[in-house]
């Protein structure tokens, strides 16, 4: 997959690749697209600061009203969003830890160690990325019904605890970033495989682990299909809570928008702080979560 290239390469070529200065037309087009990207979110906040009565009038509101905190409060309590945000943090956090840890060690084995069936197993990893989540929904639903896991968070954590994409991502990174001599030197010094992972692989892999972690967190936070089957409003993730908020009897639209805002805010904060790194990470090589 040609999308992958080491971060070093991206950095050094980014200078060479950029050719000409942008003209005013380029800026104009980019500003328009930026505005289109940001507008729905800004308008979510505007709608969340109004009343649902005001949203049923023409023209639609284009500036903030006075009801933001009242609506946020209603969404917080009525839609169980306090629980939902906590649950989403637990779910996305656990999945991120599991995926990053297991992807790194598996990626290391595929990149640098020798073992039988390596090629076959790697092909299997790549093939796994093609399998849609719908394929496992029916049996997993039967299991969680049997195990009485409906509404328990492990029902949504365990199925996505590892990721084929993550393994492949770490393998691509470590193949280039981890010098084989470094491992050999550690072996000569008598380090066991676990020590090598801890003292050599993890330090080298740290940038890629951070990127994979952020991508995984975004994916897990936004995962939709399986959580709405496995969980209900009693113990929801953010996405489940938003769905039932929107499907309530006579949904109050300004409150729904307040809920949408609350459910997106944590990720937006992550983006404001780490935006540059996330952009870099996706550019290093990424596949839709």
């Amino acid at each position: 997959m040609a999308v992958f290239s080491s971060p070093r390469q991206v950095r050094s070529k980014s200078k060479a690749g950029k050719q000409m200065h942008a003209g005013p037309v380029t800026y104009a087009v980019l500003i328009v697209f930026t505005a289109v990207s940001l507008f729905p979110l800004i308008w979510t906040a505007i709608a969340a600061s109004r009343t649902s009565g005001r949203l049923s009038q023409t023209p639609p509101p284009l500036w903030f009203g006075a009801n933001l905190f009242k609506n946020l409060g209603t969404a917080w309590t009525d839609a169980n969003l306090s629980q939902a945000l906590l649950n989403s943090a637990v779910v996305a956090g656990s999945i991120t830890v599991g995926t990053v840890l297991f992807s790194t060690i598996a990626g290391f084995a595929f990149a640098k160690l020798r073992f039988r069936f390596k090629t076959v197993l790697l092909m299997l990893v790549i093939a796994t990325m093609m399998v849609p989540p719908q394929l496992s929904v029916v049996p997993m639903f039967l299991w969680i019904a049997k195990l009485d896991w409906t509404n328990h968070l492990q029902a949504v954590i365990l199925p996505t605890f590892v990721s084929a994409f993550g393994v492949f991502f770490m393998r691509q990174y470590l193949t280039q970033a981890l010098p084989t001599e470094l491992i050999e030197a550690a072996r000569v010094d008598g380090a066991s495989s676990m020590r090598i992972v801890w003292h050599v692989v993890f330090p080298v892999a740290r940038p890629a682990m951070a990127v994979l972690g952020m991508l995984t967190f975004v994916f897990a936070w936004n995962d939709f299909f399986w959580p709405i089957i496995a969980l209900t409003q009693e113990n929801p993730t953010v996405q489940v809570a938003l769905t039932s908020l929107a499907h309530g009897y006579v949904p109050d639209e300004s409150v729904v928008m307040a809920g949408a805002l609350l459910g997106t805010l944590p990720l937006l904060l992550v983006f404001v702080v780490f935006g540059k790194q996330i952009v870099g990470g996706i550019m290093q090589g990424a596949v839709k979560g």
Binding site: Q9, V10, A22, P59, L135, R195, F224, H247
Partner: protein
């Protein structure tokens, strides 16, 4: 899983009590050689060392494969198996073998073909403009630019927005009477559109959510690929008098071909599974995909059969049909890639 890992950790750490199994091997001339107990210890250590080298790769890949077998491979097969049974959501233990009945029933169901058609048209309406825009935007972002980081992060913001939040905002903006989009179109002289009611209008509305969320993401992927294009290609094209557009057509696009193919595959997989956007756009009872199923995708159809109509066997048959469809797409794509390579 954790205990297994720590077992391995214990096993490999034990030679490291001295931390030096191989060093012992290297230092065999030591007088301790004559001590039988020390020799035994050394032998044991070197054996542990060999086990560590041989066994640890499997230990490192096994967590992934254990989870994959439990939550990927086994469910995949089990889904195939239950697609030959009648299984009702209301009574999970009562199952009855029905052979290919779920499949024949599926292929006779007009709503299946409807869902297949909708998945295809929504896939085309959402993927084609998305990737074309992403390509153009990446080209623009590849110029020397002030505030390039700002533009990149801003375009990625929709990617951070969840399906649920995005779909809810767009549903409100596509509202018939008070929606922002009808209001704006009204200024341009268009009448009010009931976006949800029409086939095309609803599919365009659903597609616009997908386009909004994924264009920036694909832009960055193309941008990364463009930055890897050697700049001397552009320089020699410029020397030959190629305009910016000609450089884009004859240098950038051919160099990006593998990346473009890759994004097409990923978008196609995403489009085949489309669920959240139409589900939430449909409001209450969204799994129907509109009053006349006008934007019901295969994902919604599966959910409706399984969790509204309680036919889990039929839902399994739909899931496997989707899987076979994806394999078909992958095969076609592989052939296309080979053909492209040959024609070059």
């Amino acid at each position: 899983m954790v205990s297994e890992l720590s077992d391995i950790a214990g096993a490999t750490a034990s030679p490291a009590q001295g931390g030096a199994a191989p060093r012992d091997e290297a230092a065999q001339h030591r007088p301790a050689d004559h001590d039988p107990a020390a020799a035994l210890r050394r032998k044991w250590r070197s054996r542990l060392y060999r086990w560590d080298v041989k066994g640890s790769p499997y230990a490192f890949v096994s967590p992934f494969f254990l989870f994959f077998v439990a939550f990927g491979l086994f469910p995949l097969i089990y889904t195939g198996w239950s697609s030959f049974y009648r299984v009702e959501l209301t009574n999970l233990d009562a199952r009855e073998f029905v052979g290919f009945h779920n499949y024949t029933r599926l292929f006779q169901d007009e709503f299946f073909w409807n869902a297949l058609r909708n998945t295809f048209t929504i896939g085309v309406i959402s993927t084609v403009p998305q990737l074309l825009m992403a390509l153009g935007l990446a080209h623009l972002l590849n110029y020397r630019l002030r505030g390039s980081t700002f533009f990149r992060v801003a375009m990625l913001v929709p990617y951070a927005t969840s399906v649920a939040a995005a779909a809810l905002v767009f549903t409100l903006m596509f509202g018939t009477d008070y929606g922002m989009i009808n209001w704006a179109l009204g200024h341009l002289g268009f009448g009010h559109t009931d976006w949800r009611a029409g086939t095309w209008s609803s599919q365009i509305a659903v597609s616009s959510i997908v386009i909004w969320r994924w264009t920036g993401y694909n832009t960055l992927i193309y941008l990364a690929a463009m930055q890897a294009v050697p700049s001397d290609l552009y320089e020699s094209a410029a020397l030959d008098g190629a305009s910016r557009w000609q450089q884009f057509r004859h240098v950038t696009v051919p160099m990006l071909r593998p990346t473009i193919l890759f994004t097409i595959v990923v978008s196609t997989i995403g489009a085949t599974q489309l669920f959240g956007e139409p589900y939430l756009f449909g409001g209450t009872g969204g799994e129907k995909g509109g009053s006349a199923h006008q934007f019901q995708t295969l994902g919604l159809y599966l959910y409706e059969q399984g969790w509204t109509n309680y036919h889990l066997g039929r839902a399994s048959a739909i899931a496997w049909t989707m899987f076979l469809l994806l394999l078909l797409i992958a095969a076609v794509n592989g052939l296309a890639a080979r053909w492209l390579r040959k024609s070059q």
